[in-house]
Structure formats: C-alpha cells, structure tokens
C-alpha cells in the first residue's frame, strides 16, 4: 500500500514543517505550502489524498481555498484547522455538511487518526 500524500496549508512555517517531518517518521508522506494559491496549484498538479487546511491564511482565506477545492475536487477530503472552536455557521461554512475540524494546537496522534479516517472513505 502506497503511503498517504497529505498536503498542509498553513502560514506558520516552523509549526507546519515540524509536523510534516514528524509525520514522515510515521509513514505519512506530507508536504506543506504557506498560502492558498500554492495549495491549489499543487492539488491540480499532484496526487494529493488529504488536505489539512488552516482557516486563517494571509491573502486568500482558508474558506476560499476550501470552497475552491470542493468545487474542483469534491472527493478530496479536507481537514480544517481552526483556532477558535466556533461552529461551522460562525466560520462561514455551509451548515449541514460533514466538516472535519481540528483545533490548534493539534495533538499529533489525533491528527494522524483523523487523516487515516478521512482517507479511508475515499
């Protein structure tokens, strides 16, 4: 079975690079970008299994990135990382959908569990 390809989108480079390196020790092939346009470019050109997306991004917001991904690749699982713990409606996400949330700071085990869970459904 080939390793999972996970893309992280977060402008906190030191944080996301440490997470990516740690996932590498656990058999998950992860990479990261720091903004939305770069993420969309990668999703269009590479084989990505799961996206982990911080909602607070500079420039193009996490919500805009999320909506564009869902328009272009409806089957691609997106795990949303949020700092506020607000319900989807308050974050501007459409209600009634099964959004995948994790709150910062994310425990690595919980993150891996969630990545595997959403990847299984593909």
């Amino acid at each position: 079975m080939s390793p999972l390809n996970v893309l992280f989108v977060d402008d906190e480079e030191e944080l996301v690079s440490a997470i990516v390196e740690r996932l590498g020790y656990r058999g998950i092939d992860a990479k990261y970008v720091l903004n939305g346009p770069e993420a969309l470019e990668l999703i269009r050109t590479q084989d990505i299994d799961v996206v982990v997306l911080d909602l607070k991004l500079p420039g193009m917001s996490g919500l805009e990135v999320h909506d564009t991904i869902k328009r272009e690749r409806v089957d691609l699982p997106v795990i949303l990382i949020t700092g506020h713990g607000a319900p989807p409606e308050q974050l501007g996400l459409p209600p009634g959908q099964d959004h995948m949330f994790l709150e910062k700071p994310v425990a690595l085990d919980a993150l891996i569990e969630r990545i595997k869970e959403v990847a299984k459904g593909r």
Partner: protein, 219 residues
C-alpha cells in the same frame, strides 16, 4: 449621551477588547503549538535512534526554533499585559511612538491576512499627549483596520505622526486604486470626541486616509 448610547459605547469597547485578546491568544497558541511540535520532533529523533547521528547544526536548528518561539511568546504576553493595563487609568500620558508601535503590533495579524504592508514613520520630536490610552488605542486600531480593509493585496499603508501648533496628529494613509468603497468611520469619530480630539478622513482620488488629532499638552 443617552443610556442607549452609553450601552453601545460599552459594547464597542468590549468588542475591541475581545477582538484584540482573541487575535493575541491565537498568535500565542501558534507559538505554543510550534514549541510542542518541535520538542516532539526531537523526541522522535531520539526514539528513532538517530540522536547519536544528529548533526550539531540539526540540534542547533531545533534549539533555535524553540528559543525563537519562546521569545515570540514572551513578547506576545508582554504586549497583552501592556494592553490589559491600558484600562487602569482614564487619564494618562500617551507617547505617540509607543501608542503606534503597540497598536501596529496588535493589528499585525489582521494586516498580514490582508497582505498589506504597514509602515510607520515618526518625527524626531517626542510627542506626548494626555488622555485615555485605551480609547486612543481603540481609535488608532479602528483607523488602521478601516484603511487596510479597503486596500488591495500587496499595497502599502503608512502610519505617521506629526506635531501641529495646537494638535498632535497620527495619520493612517493608503494609496487606492480608482474605485474605492465608502468606509464607516462613525465609531472612530465618537471615540475622538470622547478624547476631546478630532478626526479627519477622506476616500477617493486614489487615496484613503484617517487622521486623528489630539490636543497638545500645555507646557
């Protein structure tokens, strides 16, 4: 001021306090999360038995990262503490450089998200006025937010200070593309009136600005 006005003012102040603390705590959260993951990475390296083969520069990189994020956290806490104490007195000395530096730091996350460059230019002279520091911070923060919110990505906004004959001024200026939406500055106007100061603003003709004027202290 009617009771409804007073209620509205209290609500706005709490809203401002909440916005700042939410933004600062978010930033603090990121610093802690980075420290946690970097320490975790070191544990992973040890568990993987790679510690003996770890290059000195790799260990140094990890130590630097933890040190940098700890310093970042300490700066954030200090800034938050200064902000929290700004409500201690209703009348105190307000030094313009300190005011601008603190508010620029507090507004940083919002400004970064908008991908706008915020510059600060001050005069050599030390400018000190007397007034309510909390309200002054709120007025400047709202001014920056109002100007930045209509600026396109990649543009620059200048915060500058100026000493006039009767008023000390702090301005937020940005160059705008041709079409520009109107911005609501009524809250800032009300704050400046409570500070016995004045506000001038303009939108259009390629420019947007908000200028806050505080009465100069009598020598």
């Amino acid at each position: 001021m009617t009771e409804t006005d007073r209620e509205r003012v209290r609500h706005k102040e709490l809203e401002f306090f909440g916005e700042i603390t939410a933004s600062v705590s978010h930033e603090l959260n990121n610093a802690f999360a980075t420290i946690e993951q970097t320490a975790g990475l070191l544990e992973d390296l040890i568990a993987a038995g790679e510690c003996e083969g770890l290059a000195k520069d790799q260990l140094q990189r990890i130590a630097d990262r933890i040190g940098k994020q700890t310093a970042r956290g300490a700066t954030i806490v200090k800034r938050l503490n200064t902000f929290a104490h700004s409500v201690d007195a209703t009348e105190r000395e307000i030094e313009f450089n300190e005011l601008a530096e603190n508010v620029l730091a507090l507004a940083n996350r919002f400004v970064e998200r908008r991908r706008v460059q915020l510059d600060f230019r001050t005069v050599d002279e030390r400018i000190v006025v007397s007034g309510n520091l909390f309200l002054a911070q709120e007025a400047l923060f709202l001014s920056i937010r109002a100007v930045v919110s209509v600026m396109p990505e990649g543009s620059r906004v200048l915060v500058s200070t100026e000493m006039g004959e009767t008023m000390a001024r702090i301005s937020v200026d940005g160059e705008l593309p041709e079409s520009s939406p109107e911005i609501d500055l009524s809250d800032i106007e009300m704050l400046m009136s409570r500070l016995d100061g004045e506000m001038h603003s303009g939108v259009g003709e390629g420019r947007v600005f908000v200028r806050l004027g505080f009465p100069r202290q009598q020598a």
